[in-house]
Structures are given as structure tokens and as C-alpha cells.
Amino acid sequence: MNPAPAVKTLAIDGIDVSASSDQTILDAARENGISIPTLCHLDGLTEVGACRMCLVELKGSTRLQPACVTLVEEGMEVTTRTPRLEKYRRMVLELLFAERNHVCSVCVANNMCELQDQAKAHGVTHVRFPYRSPELPVDVSHERFALDHNRCILCTRCVRVCNEIEGAHTWDLLGRGVNSLLISDLHQPWGESDTCTSCGKCVQVCPTGALFDKSKVGGKVRKNPDFLSYLNEMREGLR
């Protein structure tokens, strides 16, 4: 048995809050109605701390810390919105838009996309960086779902949900760096995957139009990543 977590008090954006020592800054902030932007984070999946949208400033530290993996500490003074942080968040979004071909107007996720929402929320009206315009495939071999690499932001939510929740580990990443690519099994068409259970969890957690249900294209159907919290609650309730 782990010892019971201690209660810590800290200040987030000048508001005094209390949290238990096993909570992250992100948990504590959201519990108290303070929103911190995220992209790779999803309740119910392990954290990877990769998108850097949730970086916050800590008093007494020059280095920015990701709220999703940084545990609360006694006396911490967290600032979640500063001109510097906002500038970096806008740049993260700009980098994503320039990295692949996010053509919102013709995207299946138009108006139902977390990337698009974030761009609006952070006032990204244009992208200053040159568009890389890579040539990327679209995999429609699965009977129900499709994968459009043009819209993928490599957040790995699908990889994690498939591995951690469904237990299939159909997805992983190929290569590295800017050439990374989401793959199923041995880089084979999704429809020919030996391991995919067609559960559709990856589609539900995908923040953009990279993974989608073919039958719902243009149907203005929001994805439902919140099923994970429900699954977890059920699981914990059973324990």
C-alpha cells in the first residue's frame, strides 16, 4: 500500500488552491476551473508531455514546465497565461499547421477539430512559417475507418489508447523526427492489420481529422474522447 498522498497548497494564476501530492498542476488547475490548453493529453491515458501546449511558468524557475506531468508542490506559484507562454503556444500551433497539410476547409473534422479550436482560441489567424507541403498518403483500406496522414499531428493518443486501453497495440510510429509516421503493424494497410480489433477507440480520441469513421464524413459528428474517463471510473469502481 502506498502511503496516503499528502495535501499541498499552491497558487495557480494567483488563486490559492489545494491538491493532493499525486496530482499534476494540470489536474489541480482543471479542478479549480482554470483552463490550461493541451493537445497530447487525454484523461485516462499515460502522459507523454510532448505537445508543449500546457507549459507553465513556475516562480523561481527559469525553465518552463509541462503542467500535465509536473506534480504539485507545497508553495508552488504557477502562472498559466503570460505573453511569453501565449507566444510559444501560438508558435506550436503554427508549426503544426505548417508541418503537414491541414486544409481545414475540406477536412472531415472541420469545425470539430481540437487543432482548429486551439488556433482560434489563441488568435492564430495565419501561419508565418513556410508550409512544408509534404506528400502524404491516405489509408482507406479499413472497412469502417480511414487514416489521413495529412492531418496527423503525431500526438500518439491513438497509439496509447490502442495499447493501454484496448491492449492491441496496432498503432505505433515509424521513423523519427519530422519523418515520423503513424503505422499499423508492420507498416501495412490498416485494413490488413492482424491485430486491429476495429474497436474504433483511436478514432474517438484523435483530436483532428487524421483518424475518422468513413460513415460519418460530413455528418458533423463530434468525436467522443470522454468515454475513456468513463472506462476508467468503471474499472476503478470494480477494484
Binding site: 508558435m91 503544426l96 523519427r176
Partner: protein
């Protein structure tokens, strides 16, 4: 194994040497080996056999002055022979007793040798790296035996702390402090990892140490294992270093044979073993959490710290990670005392540092100098200055995470703090000298290309940011950049260094930032005048066409 037994082995080696005092030691480390020194060694062996003279022929590690290789060291007079060829074998053997031929003579009186202080490299080029007995004869494994029989783990940590040794991998974290943390952390199993994934292009210090004196690294690791309470060690070596791997494998086998590895080492209640893990060619695996992922058989992507490996490392256990040179310092520190080590170097950077001096400099090779030695002395005295009538322009330290240091900062004493002050870092020890034929924008682009293709791709700033910076730098070298592109580049440098997940991304902008700081006019020339003064970049061609 006891101290007496060690002495006995040393005496036997000594006796054999006295019986046959003459020897020709051929450098068979990578540098000379690439000039076929192995063939020279066999030629000398054949010649000795043919003439029947009493002379040993042996392969040794690096003698430092690689640009004059292949090198042969003659015993007992210690004469150094340079640029040796197979055809020289007969003459060398014939003149064993007399002065060697003038053209082969390499004076040890020159500053290259005189200005150095050997600690890590004390045995390099002097012992046969494939013979554990020779290492023992050079006082090897004494520190380990003493540590295990006479010292408590805490005392060892104290001694290392006293030495002031800081991580030689580049970041300069105090080694004693790291050891202390791992020692104090509770865990059912603890690990010691030696980071031999020397990834900086232009750096070959660790490779040379592993090839020339592998037991020194093993001894340092075993001592560390005892000090922190670990039972298993791993050496993570680059696959690109086959010779180092071969020598390490032999060294581990011999150390096991003599009981320096295994259970109840030196009859102490301490068991420790070391395994080699071969890397796969990923620079990011020099980052400790990525290296751990790689040893665990996964993609080498870093994870956010904390928790630090000292608390939760390999298989979530407390793990000590040091690089090759850090471990290689340990035997000498224990043998001669932490205070002695701390007497070398500067106030905040103690001891010596090994550098791989290369690029546009006369004496290319491996050197070891006390911390605080001025760069000018390293480049112009030890290095012999710039060849072919060119002018010095910059020296690059710290690899893709470092920066370019200009002429006006050459009197800087080399230590962690002052290098950081001028916008570079100590890094692992690569030191690349550039002359006026180098274009600094092109150099910045070269390093950015490196970082872009070595980025693991996990975090967005590093993955997409390095690709954008590379694109902007390419616009500059190809003559299509606008002044706004420079603004964008500077914005990205700030963003990528502030927001990236690991050290690779955080330091990726350094080569750009340091060249912008000292050579901004070259950027302006590329952007506004479409002119590259070094004549390296495409933009010149473009200007000619439009003129």
C-alpha cells in the same frame, strides 16, 4: 583478488619487460588503424622474427597525435616514430639500438606533448588494451581493490565529491552529488550505466579511451556500482565503434576471469556484472532517458524529467548514468585522492578534460589538458595553429548543442562556465577548428540539418521547429531569404530552446545563436547581398546569374 596478488601480476609483467626491454608498440586505435597500422604491426613482427632480435611487437591504444599517424612507440627509450609505413619495417628493426631515421622521428619535446596533463589518457598508447595484466602493471584495479577492502561506499562518494569531478558528457553535473543521490535512493535493484553513445560529430574521445584503455572504464563502473549499491552495469556503445566493442568484450571477459566482475568481488559482499548494449545510431540516445528507453529495447525517445534516473531510471529503478570519461577519471581519483584531482583545473571546473582536436589545425588528435587552459594555447600551441596559410575563424565546441567561438574569445580559459558565457558549451569534448574557408551560415545549417534528422519527433518544437529552422537557413545559403526570415529564425531559436522536451531540442538553436552573435554580418551578406564571403554557398552563383 588482493593487493598482493595485483602486485604479483604487476611484477610478472615488469619482469617480462626487463627480460626483453626492447619493444615496438604500434598504435592500433581507430585513427592509425584507418591508415593500416595493423599491416605495419605484422610487418614489424615478421621483420623481428626474420632477424631474430629480442624485441616485442605489440599493439597499443591512441598516442594522441593522429595527424602524424601511423605512430609507433619504441621502448625502452620512448622514441616516437611518425608516418610509419610497411616499407619502413626493416629499417626500424635494423636501427633498434641507434637513432631512428630522421624522417620518422617525432619529437616529444614539442608543445603538443609538453602542454598536456594525462589523467584519463595516462595509459593510452602505453599499454596493450587487450591485456588486463598490462593495465594492472600500470596500477590498474588498485583503486577497486582498495575501495572494496578498505572503504565504505559513503567514503567513496565523499572522495569523488571532494575531487570536484563534473559530468564529462557535457552538462557538467557534479558527479559526487549524482552518486550520492543514487546511493541514498532506495530500490530493490540499482543500475550503473556507462554512456558510450558518443554522438557529437567531430568527437572521438570516448572511442579512443575505450579502444586504448577499456579496463579503466570498467574499473570506474565497478567502483561506482559498489559506491551506489548497484549490482548490474550496462555500457551503451555506438554500433559505429566496432573496435571499441571488441576491446570492451575482451576486457569484460578478462575482468570476469580475474574476479573483478562477478559475485563476491575481492571477497567483499558485493556482486557486480557488466553487459554491453549496442546502440542503433540515434544521437538522441545520448540523452539519459532516451538511452534508458533504448536499453529497454524501445524507440529512443526521451521522457520528461523529473523523475530523474537517479530516482527512477532503468526499469523504474535508481540508475546512475555517467559517460565514459567520467568513469575513466575514477580510478585515478581514488588512487591519488580527491584533493589531488581538485588541485588541477579552475575553481569551479576541476581536473583535466580530454578534447578531440580536429578540423583546420596542424596537429589533429586527442589531447588532455587541465581545465582552465586557454583556447589559444590549445589551438595555437598544442594544435600548432592553422595550416596552409589560412586564418583562424572560429572553434566549435560542444557539437550540435554547442557554439562557434570567435578569435576575440580565444584567451578564454576552457571550463564549463566560461564556455557557456560565450554561447557555447563544454560538451563531450569535440573541438573543431575552422579557418576563413568556412562559412558560418553554412556551418549553422549543417548543424541544424543534424538536429533535424536526429530529432526523435516526440515534441513539436524540436520536431517541426528544427525542420523550419533548417528551411530558413537553406533559404539563406541558397540566396532566397528575406530579412523577415531572419526574424522568424531568431523567434524560433528562442521558442525551440525554451519549450523543447529534452536537451537535444533545447540546445539545437545554439549553433545558430552563437554564429548570429559573432558573425551576424555573414547572415546579412547572405540575405541582402546574396553573397557568401567564404564562397561555399549557392547564393554566390545566384548573384552572378542575376548580375
Amino acid at each position: 583478488m588482493t593487493l598482493d596478488e595485483l602486485e604479483q601480476i604487476a611484477n610478472e609483467v615488469q619482469a617480462a619487460k626487463e627480460k626483453s626491454p626492447r619493444a615496438l608498440n604500434v598504435c592500433v586505435a581507430a585513427g592509425c588503424l584507418s591508415l593500416h597500422s595493423d599491416a605495419i604491426k605484422s610487418a614489424l613482427e615478421k621483420e623481428v622474427q626474420r632477424t631474430g632480435v629480442n624485441c616485442r611487437v605489440a599493439g597499443t591504444g591512441c598516442m594522441g597525435l593522429c595527424s602524424l599517424g601511423p605512430l609507433v612507440n619504441r621502448e625502452p627509450d620512448g622514441q616516437l616514430l611518425k608516418n610509419v609505413a610497411e616499407a619502413d619495417a626493416a629499417e626500424i628493426v635494423e636501427k633498434l639500438e641507434s637513432v631512428p631515421p630522421e624522417r620518422l622521428l617525432c619529437s616529444r619535446e614539442q608543445p603538443f606533448f609538453q602542454r598536456q596533463t594525462a589523467v584519463v589518457l595516462e595509459n593510452s598508447g602505453r599499454i596493450n588494451p587487450e591485456k588486463i595484466e598490462e593495465y594492472i602493471a600500470a596500477e590498474g584495479y588498485q583503486a577497486l581493490v582498495r575501495a572494496l577492502t578498505e572503504m565504505a561506499p559513503a567514503q567513496i562518494v565523499q572522495e569523488v565529491s571532494k575531487s570536484g569531478l563534473r559530468g564529462r558528457g557535457g552538462a557538467g553535473y557534479p558527479t559526487g552529488l549524482k552518486w550520492g543521490t543514487v546511493a541514498k535512493t532506495i530500490g530493490t535493484t540499482k543500475y550503473v550505466i556507462c554512456n558510450a553513445d558518443e554522438g557529437d560529430p567531430g568527437a572521438f574521445m570516448d572511442r579512443s579511451v575505450l579502444e586504448s584503455d577499456p579496463h579503466r572504464v570498467l574499473e570506474g563502473m565497478i567502483v561506482a556500482g559498489y559506491a551506489v549499491g548497484a549490482s548490474q552495469g550496462y555500457i551503451y556503445v555506438r554500433a559505429e565503434y566496432p573496435l571499441a566493442i571488441k576491446r570492451l568484450q575482451a576486457a569484460i571477459r578478462d575482468a570476469r576471469r580475474l574476479g573483478f566482475l562477478g559475485s563476491q568481488i575481492c571477497n567483499a559482499k558485493f556482486s557486480f556484472d557488466i553487459e554491453i548494449r549496442i546502440g542503433g545510431g540515434a544521437f538522441v540516445c545520448g540523452e539519459e532517458t532516451a538511452l534508458i528507453a533504448s536499453i529497454e529495447g524501445r524507440r529512443g525517445t526521451p521522457r520528461p524529467r523529473p523523475p530523474f534516473p537517479a530516482q527512477s531510471g532503468l526499469w523504474q529503478m535508481p540508475t546512475l548514468i555517467n559517460n565514459v570519461e567520467s568513469f575513466a577519471n575514477i580510478p585515478t581519483i581514488l588512487r591519488r585522492g580527491g584533493e589531488w584531482y581538485a588541485s588541477l583545473g579552475t575553481k569551479k571546473s576541476k581536473g583535466t578534460k580530454v578534447f578531440a582536436l580536429c578540423g583546420k589545425v596542424r596537429n589533429v588528435g586527442l589531447i588532455e589538458v587541465p581545465m582552465g587552459t586557454p583556447l589559444r594555447q590549445i589551438i595555437f600551441e598544442i594544435g600548432g595553429g592553422i595550416p596552409d596559410g589560412h586564418r583562424f575563424k572560429a572553434v566549435q565546441t560542444g557539437g550540435p548543442s554547442g557554439g562557434c567561438i570567435p578569435e576575440q574569445s580565444l584567451d578564454l580559459p576552457v571550463d564549463y562556465e566560461s564556455l557557456k558565457e560565450v554561447g557555447s558549451i563544454m560538451g563531450s569534448g569535440g573541438m573543431i577548428v575552422m579557418d576563413d574557408s568556412a562559412c558560418m551560415v553554412n556551418v549553422a545549417r549543417y548543424f541544424m540539418e543534424f538536429c533535424m534528422s536526429e530529432s526523435c519527433g516526440k515534441c513539436i518544437p524540436c520536431r517541426a521547429g528544427t525542420a523550419q529552422m533548417f528551411e530558413l537557413l537553406t533559404r539563406m545559403t541558397s540566396g532566397t531569404a528575406t530579412p523577415q526570415d531572419l526574424e522568424l529564425l531568431e523567434d524560433l531559436c528562442d521558442m525551440v530552446s525554451s519549450t523543447s522536451l529534452c536537451g537535444l531540442g533545447q540546445s539545437a538553436p545554439n549553433p545558430v545563436l552563437s554564429t548570429l552573435r559573432y558573425f551576424r554580418e555573414e547572415y546579412t551578406e547572405h540575405i541582402v547581398d546574396k553573397h557568401c564571403r567564404a564562397g561555399v554557398c549557392e547564393c554566390n552563383h545566384l548573384a552572378e546569374v542575376s548580375a
